[in-house]
């Protein structure tokens, strides 16, 4: 079963009844245990990799020694032939054949170790990736659980009841109304400000004699008299 599937099982397990904890703590414990097992397996794999590499180094050394010995004896055989000692040369050649036989065996062991090391390294990389993925997923599930608890706490604090029961659309309406109120307030404030500025301007214009300083009884009477004369 993939990690994702396990997590879905873990989450679904607890979510069968409304209001119940979402995470099946038992399932999480199992995942935690699997994670610990994987980590242990990883440790073991690393230990055996170390051991195999040590053994491989030993075989490696033997192979090198054999190669050196073969080269050395080939020199001896040539020297014996140069001296015309055919039987000595044959003895040396037999020795070389022995070394070569041993070399074939040791080289085979060495190749075996090489492929073992490659496999182990691959396995370790895979396990490490799995552990990382599991770590991440478990942490998300646990986080979700904490957030769920936090929301329940918040609901209790917020309204003395479960805020899940408070309608989301009502909340949205409240927020919008507040926003509208703020906008109205700032619009009103701006209007007020401009009015104040306007009043101020009028006063300054009057003081400067540019705008008529306002109608009075006598000025109205003057105007009416003029109208009468013209008519």
């Amino acid at each position: 079963m993939s990690i994702f599937n396990k997590i879905i099982t873990a989450i679904r397990g607890g979510a069968t009844e409304v209001g119940e904890a979402i995470v099946d703590t038992q399932a999480i414990r199992i995942l935690d245990q699997e994670l610990r097992d994987s980590k242990k397996a990883l440790g073991d794999a690393k230990t055996s990799l170390t051991a195999i590499m040590a053994e491989k180094t030993g075989v490696d050394r033997k192979v090198k020694e054999l190669n050196a010995k073969i080269k050395e004896h080939e020199g001896y055989a040539i020297q014996a032939m140069d001296k015309g000692d055919e039987s000595l040369a044959l003895d040396v050649a037999n020795k070389i054949a022995e070394f070569e036989h041993e070399l074939t065996i040791q080289q085979g062991i060495l190749d075996g170790y090489d492929s073992k090391v490659t496999t182990l390294k691959k396995m370790i990389r895979q396990t490490e990736r799995n552990i990382q993925a599991m770590d991440r997923e478990i942490s998300v599930v646990k986080t979700t659980e904490k957030v769920q608890k936090a929301n329940e706490l918040a609901s209790a604090k917020f309204s003395g009841s479960n805020s899940a029961l408070n309608s989301a659309t009502d909340s949205l309406e409240r927020i919008k109304a507040r926003q509208q109120q703020r906008e109205d307030q700032s619009a009103a404030a701006m209007e007020l400000e401009s009015e104040e500025n306007g009043d101020d301007l009028q006063a300054r214009l009057k003081n400067a004699g540019i705008v008529d300083s306002g109608s009075s009884g006598s000025s109205v009477l003057d105007r009416l008299k003029k109208q009468k004369e013209n008519s």
């Binding site: 942490s139 986080t143 608890k149 899940a164 309608s167 659309t169 949205l172 927020i175 703020r182």
Partner: protein, 140 residues
């Protein structure tokens, strides 16, 4: 480690404001110091829960409970949510237990500006989402 990370984020956020000057209030939410609660000024109805660990920073907001959904329209709503997921900037729909949520996830290496951007968008997206889903929700 994650708690230290969360505390650091909280202290960075406490002096920050959103791009339009909106204030945030932040408090550690639970006794385990693992969940922070962020409230955007004037939108206190939809608090944002933030958690942080080695893997990611998560910001989650609860939208509404299953009980608020008109049962006959549930499948259509779920379908709509899935389709909208790609289109909504940075946030996605999801569900915890019987609660529909909207969330955003960030790399733990994100800067405080990136986190603020996330919070701002999530807060906007939540209001948009509820508006968009209101046809599927029960009246009142």
């Amino acid at each position: 480690m994650s708690n230290a990370k969360l505390e650091q984020l909280m202290s960075d956020l406490s002096n920050a404001r959103l791009s339009d000057g909106t204030q945030l209030s932040i408090e550690m939410f639970d006794g385990e110091d693992s969940v922070a609660c962020i409230k955007v000024e004037d939108r206190e109805e939809f608090p944002i829960y933030m958690t942080a660990d080695e893997g990611q920073i998560l910001c989650i907001t609860y939208l509404f409970g299953e009980d608020q959904v008109v049962p006959q329209k549930r499948a259509e709503m779920a379908d709509n949510m899935l389709q909208m997921n790609v289109v909504i900037p940075l946030s996605a729909f999801s569900k915890i237990g019987d609660q529909y949520i909207m969330f955003g996830a960030l790399s733990p290496k994100s800067s405080i500006d990136e986190l603020l951007h996330e919070i701002e968008l999530l807060s906007d997206n939540v209001l948009e989402a509820i508006e968009a889903m209101s046809d599927y929700l029960q009246e009142g």
